[in-house]
């Protein structure tokens, strides 16, 4: 997949920044000391990452980890002290103010934690703001804004003022304001953090629905790991301005780069992050034989039988004979371990795991399942 946004060794120091200070940090000076002595705060330190087209990329970290600063560098609200941000192949560093404004008007829209709706504008006018700034005629922009409001379920509130709406509804307006532009890139700055847990889940579902309809590149900032795991295709973990690791939730969980990453995942419900695909084991006894060939008889063990293309045909139970694939319980590769527990626990033999094409990936026994959950935690 091509990368939509790439960030290349970006540094951002607040206060009196200089390349000499960055050099000091590179050579291992403690950022805390720099803050105490020189009053310079290192918000982002040597971060590089690639955001691929069409993915939800979550930048996850606690407050003060530099994630919001990083997001603001993607649309040039903050410019890096060193390093480069490249959006769709063009470096932001070399852009004029005019080009940067054009980029923001047509390529990327932002959703804010505090909603940042304009109190003097109606819901509809808020949703149409980006189009108005871009110079679209009133009729056209009102139509587009209305469509965006309909999509987030707020068409009935179009004439109201933002403060007449609840927090969740206000953020829907914020989302509609961004969607109205139909931008290829969405930047979401802790967009759902200020909402109640139930509403937050609704909004996450809405975002996932929107992604399913029309894939955009979404860079989502969050301090909530559950949220990151739920919506993120990939997660970048940040701490103290540095990138710890960047990968899918499952791989972060299974192959943490260091103890800090491990610590992030300490309280995570492993069973809902891990998929069965990640913990399958090869079956003890496997036979390959195509339809029409005589079945092997091993008598005292359970044998899984596939054809030459690895499609599962069925299994031979010890002493009980042939059972066709249609009659046994199987798991698909993307099932979470949590959802698999029931099936695995009630099955008499290790449960086969199949991919989308019904090919056998391996099997899971109750013992494997427990060991995997233990290891992940």
């Amino acid at each position: 997949m091509q990368s939509e946004i790439s960030i290349e060794s970006v540094w951002k120091l607040f206060g009196r920044s200089s390349s000499e200070l960055i050099e000091q940090l590179r050579s291992g000076t403690d950022p805390e000391r720099l803050h105490a002595n020189r009053g310079v705060r290192a918000a982002v330190q040597d971060v590089s990452m690639e955001v691929r087209a069409g993915e939800i990329f979550v930048v996850m970290g606690l407050s003060g980890s530099g994630k919001s600063t990083l997001l603001r560098m993607l649309n040039g609200l903050i410019s890096p002290c060193e390093g480069e941000v490249i959006v769709k192949g063009r470096s932001l560093n070399s852009m004029t103010a005019q080009q940067l404004a054009e980029l923001r008007r047509h390529q990327m829209a932002m959703v804010f934690q505090s909603f940042a709706l304009f109190p003097h504008r109606s819901v509809l006018e808020n949703a149409a703001f980006g189009l108005e700034v871009a110079g679209m005629a009133r009729k056209a922009r009102t139509d587009r804004a209305m469509q965006a409001l309909e999509r987030v379920g707020l068409a009935a509130e179009a004439r109201k003022r933002p403060r007449e709406l609840s927090g969740g509804m206000q953020q829907r307006v914020g989302l509609a304001r961004a969607l109205a532009l139909d931008p290829p890139i969405l930047l979401m700055d802790e967009a759902f953090s200020a909402l109640d847990p139930l509403i937050r889940k609704d909004m996450q579902d809405l975002l996932l629905d929107l992604q399913a309809e029309h894939r955009r590149t979404v860079v989502f900032i969050s301090h909530d790991l559950d949220e990151a795991i739920r919506i993120g295709d990939r997660i970048a973990l940040m701490q103290d301005g540095r990138l710890l690791q960047c990968d899918t939730a499952q791989r972060l969980l299974q192959h943490p780069a260091n103890d800090e990453v491990k610590r992030f995942f300490r309280d995570v419900d492993v069973a809902s992050v891990l998929t069965v695909e990640a913990i399958v084991q090869p079956p003890h006894h496997l036979s390959v034989c195509d339809v029409g060939e005589p079945l092997p008889d091993r008598g005292d063990v359970t044998v899984y039988v596939t054809d030459r293309l690895q499609h599962l045909r069925g299994l031979l139970r010890a002493g009980l004979g042939w059972v066709d694939v249609a009659a046994i319980s199987t798991l698909s590769a993307g099932t979470s371990v949590k959802d698999a527990i029931d099936v695995v626990a009630t099955s008499s033999e290790p449960v086969p795991v199949l991919d989308d094409e019904k090919r056998l990936l391996g099997v899971i026994s109750p013992r494997h399942l427990l060991l995997a959950m233990e290891a992940g935690g």
Partner: protein, 298 residues
């Protein structure tokens, strides 16, 4: 004796000011004439327009405006108040005062609003403007009357110019404040959607600042009214004149009548201009509906 004598004469600063005014008189008379003629034309036109409708029509229009912007009770107050002014035979004086106030505050806004915006956008401008505003606000109001008379002789024009200087600071200050205190996240939202500096000012900062700016406008109008009354001492005319005559002739009744008329005008101007500052509680349609139901049920 020496101290007393000093107290009666202007010191070096005063003499310098005198010199300054004299120099202006000698060298910039043409400029002052131009200002004088244009301000005079402006106030005459305003007065002509305000005098044109008969008193009852003027009262009805104002009451209608009051009903639209404020409420029914206020509209009633407008009618009763104007009726009282009319019965005191002070109508033409009130109109004269009103045209002075409107001209002076109109000019104050014309200069003050852009100055406020400019101060909000440039720290340097604000640093220059701020001490001037402090001076303008704390200088006793009467002091403005002297150079005004010297430069423009007596009458409506010096009254308006003295009023203008006295009444301008609030609108500059509050426009500056309104723009500066627009929340950062709104500015950021504006920027993130690609606003240019100008779009940011007109689409985000000014609309958010409107309530504060309108408070400044209200203050300016109220200060104009108070100054216009004082300016009757240099022949501004209008209600101030009535009050002044009351003082000169020790006529308590006349002074009180003039005072009451000023109060009525002040309340009406205040409530009307304030109604543009905040959002009204309920829209006109809603209030009409309530009135209709009250009407039917009674």
């Amino acid at each position: 004796m020496l101290i007393l004598a000093a107290a009666h004469q202007a010191g070096w600063l005063g003499q310098a000011t005198d010199l300054c005014v004299e120099w202006l008189l000698a060298n910039a008379q043409g400029l002052f004439d131009v200002i004088k003629v244009s301000v005079l034309a402006l106030v005459s036109v305003t007065e002509l327009v305000l005098e044109w409708p008969p008193a009852w029509l003027f009262a009805l229009i104002t009451a209608g405006l009051g009903f639209w912007r404020v409420n029914g009770g206020f509209a009633l107050f407008v009618l009763l108040g104007f009726n009282l002014v009319l019965s005191m035979a002070l109508w033409s004086e009130m109109i004269a005062t009103l045209s002075l106030v409107l001209t002076a505050s109109g000019l104050a806004l014309l200069i003050g609003l852009p100055l406020g915006i400019l101060s909000a956008r440039s720290r340097l401008v604000w640093r220059l403007v701020r001490p001037c505003l402090d001076l303008m606000q704390t200088m006793p109001a009467f002091v403005y009357l002297i150079p005004a008379v010297m430069l423009f002789s007596t009458g409506a024009v010096p009254s308006i110019l003295a009023t203008l200087i006295f009444a301008m600071p609030p609108v500059v200050r509050l426009t500056h404040l309104g723009i500066v205190q627009v929340p950062d996240d709104l500015i950021e939202a504006g920027r993130s959607f690609g606003c240019s500096d100008r779009q940011l000012l007109w689409k985000v900062q000014m609309p958010s600042a409107i309530p504060t700016v309108m408070t400044g406008v209200n203050q300016t109008i109220m200060l104009s009214l108070s100054m216009v009354v004082i300016a009757s001492m240099i022949g501004g005319g209008g209600l101030g004149d009535v009050v002044l005559r009351g003082i000169q002739q020790l006529d308590v009744g006349m002074g009180f009548e003039g005072g009451i008329a000023v109060v009525i005008l002040a309340v009406i101007l205040d409530r009307l201009s304030q109604s543009f500052a905040g959002r009204r509680g309920s829209s006109l349609q809603e209030r009409l509906r309530v009135w209709m139901t009250l009407w039917r049920s009674s």
